[in-house]
């Protein structure tokens, strides 16, 4: 069992389906994020990205299928699974009335890390996202890009090995967007963090990244980002073709 866990992928989503009433939000979705890899989850609005994130973070129980994080099944060992997971949600989730440090300490305590132990870690992370000087400022005084960087720092406070980001750059200017991409890419490169990055912005994806395309709750393409398109077709063009084709339920495994 432990041997299997050593080799288990960072995230294994196996045949997950989820319904809201009569509407199927996810149908038979399988995704594997290998350790130390950056995986892009591409999908238009309403494709089911946020639902998938809610299932992975156990906000919803998956109705069918199985989710494991580093071999810890979300159904059987939710605590161990969640402990290794860091999340940046699409919506801003910082407490705007509290300071940056108070927000980060609150998060540390949610993971059982006491104030003294967290202090050093928080200082390091704030340095990493370039916002050490804003430590004692109220979150409401930060710009959109700055709060996003704080949210990334927050998601790392408990030292997760898998980071989930749900369209983290939405609504940010080009510079802030580039900053955030650079921070996360550095984490993958230097610390071996595994990342699942949901987006529909193609500049954020490199040809060597793993990618899956989610459309109407189904995976319609998967593979290396550079090879998803057919000969001479850009990823963006391939994506447009995949999400406009009316083949509801068409699957194409790589």
């Amino acid at each position: 069992m432990t041997g299997g866990r050593e080799a288990a992928p960072a995230l294994d989503v196996a045949q997950v389906s989820h319904r809201f009433g009569a509407r199927a939000a996810l149908s038979d979705v399988s995704i594997r994020v290998e350790r130390g890899r950056f995986m892009a989850l591409l999908g238009p609005n309403g494709a089911g990205k946020t639902t998938l994130f809610s299932v992975i973070t156990r906000l919803y129980n998956n109705q069918d299928g199985r989710v494991s994080i580093f071999g810890h099944g979300l159904d059987r060992e939710p605590s161990r699974a969640l402990a290794r997971l860091g999340v940046v949600f699409q919506a801003r989730t910082l407490d705007t009335d509290l300071t940056v440090a108070q927000n980060l300490h609150y998060h540390a305590s949610l993971h059982g890390i006491g104030r003294r132990a967290a202090r050093e870690r928080i200082a390091t992370l704030l340095d990493r996202v370039g916002l050490s000087d804003r430590r004692d400022d109220k979150v409401r005084t930060l710009s959109g890009g700055q709060s996003r960087r704080i949210e990334i720092a927050r998601s790392l406070v408990h030292g997760p090995s898998l980071l989930l980001l749900d369209e983290p750059t939405v609504g940010l200017d080009l510079e802030s967007r580039a900053d955030i991409v650079a921070i996360v890419r550095a984490l993958v490169r230097e610390e071996g963090l595994s990342v699942l990055w949901a987006t529909h912005i193609f500049e954020e994806i490199e040809p060597g990244d793993d990618a899956v395309v989610l459309h109407r709750g189904r995976i319609v393409a998967r593979g290396q980002a550079g090879s998803i398109g057919s000969e001479g077709e850009s990823l963006e063009a391939a994506f447009r073709r995949l999400v406009t084709e009316p083949k509801d339920g068409g699957r194409q495994a790589a």
């Binding site: 809610s54 407490d95 009335d97």
Partner: protein, 296 residues
């Protein structure tokens, strides 16, 4: 502020001194988690000064104006725990203190709905601790705030000759904790049922006011019985009545077993229902929309 300079000071999480790879999942870790949730609640409470004052002003208005006005109309005869004929102001103090907790319980519930709308509930629920322990921590955090408020009110009411023996203030602490837990648990369940913040006004109309007025907070129940037997039984069945009685007796150094049993029983029942409602597979989380109303 290049990435290179940033990474120079970064160590891998596993190498951080004093920090285990992913916090502690044992009892100590849980206590840290509980402490963090209570701390956040207190920080938010003291940040919102208006909230603190309005929570105090409401019962003080009742005490200084309403009770003074009714002083001569509503005489309260001798009944336990009072040993003599008491002034109306003296009678209403315990009820007003518990009213603070009632409003606070609903306020916590309101902030749960707000947290769900803005998404910070998601952050709480991705904590690795079992969900029921997170809800319990939320409940304890709310109770801490409500007990602070209740004592702030008692401190001001003290100048108004409320005739509470000094030992009563101490004896009432467990009673305030119990009533705070009960009202918080009711609020917690309500927060799982209210879909949107806008619907909260109806909670005021259909929960707070009926609970407060159909209770022994403002008038002894024998008075109500004189006018309506049915109403009397409604008040008897109202858990708020028992919370008020538990506190009232405790303030005079006495223990009311029936009130205590009702308060504890109601707390357990409502907390259990709230845990079911917040379960990821059932209740609100499973319904369309989920915790933040997103459905993409």
């Amino acid at each position: 502020m290049s990435i290179q300079t940033r990474t120079a000071v970064t160590a891998a999480p596993t190498r951080m001194p004093g920090v285990s790879h992913h916090g502690r999942l044992d009892a100590v870790g849980y206590l840290i988690c509980l402490g963090g949730i209570v701390r956040r609640e207190l920080l938010r409470f003291f940040n919102q000064k208006e909230r603190f004052f309005s929570a105090l002003v409401r019962p003080l208005v009742w005490l200084f104006i309403f009770a003074a006005g009714f002083r001569n109309t509503l005489g309260v005869s001798i009944e336990p725990p009072y040993q003599t004929y008491v002034l109306y102001e003296v009678y209403v103090v315990p009820g007003l203190a518990v009213m603070i907790q009632l409003f606070n319980g609903m306020q916590s519930s309101l902030s749960m709905v707000y947290d769900r709308e803005v998404g910070s509930m998601k952050v709480l629920l991705t904590s690795p601790y079992p969900r029921w322990t997170l809800l319990l921590a939320k409940l304890i955090a709310g109770v801490t705030v409500s007990v602070v408020q209740a004592y702030a009110f008692l401190a001001i009411a003290w100048f108004w000759e409320t005739d509470i023996p000094p030992i009563g203030y101490l004896a009432a602490l467990p009673a305030f904790v119990a009533s705070g837990l009960m009202l918080g648990a009711i609020g917690l369940l309500l927060s799982s049922m209210v879909r949107q913040l806008e619907n909260f006004a109806s909670v005021m109309n259909f929960v707070i006011f009926p609970m407060f007025f159909a209770s022994s907070a403002l008038y002894p129940l024998w008075r109500i019985r004189e006018s309506s037997e049915t109403l009397y039984w409604i008040c008897e069945c109202n858990p708020f009545t028992h919370a008020v009685q538990l506190v009232r007796f405790a303030l005079y150094g006495q223990f009311e077993p029936v009130a205590c049993a009702v308060v504890v029983g109601t707390t357990i029942a409502f907390f259990t229902l709230a845990v079911i409602a917040y379960d990821p597979g059932r209740g609100i989380m499973a319904r369309r929309g989920g915790p933040a109303g997103d459905n993409s």
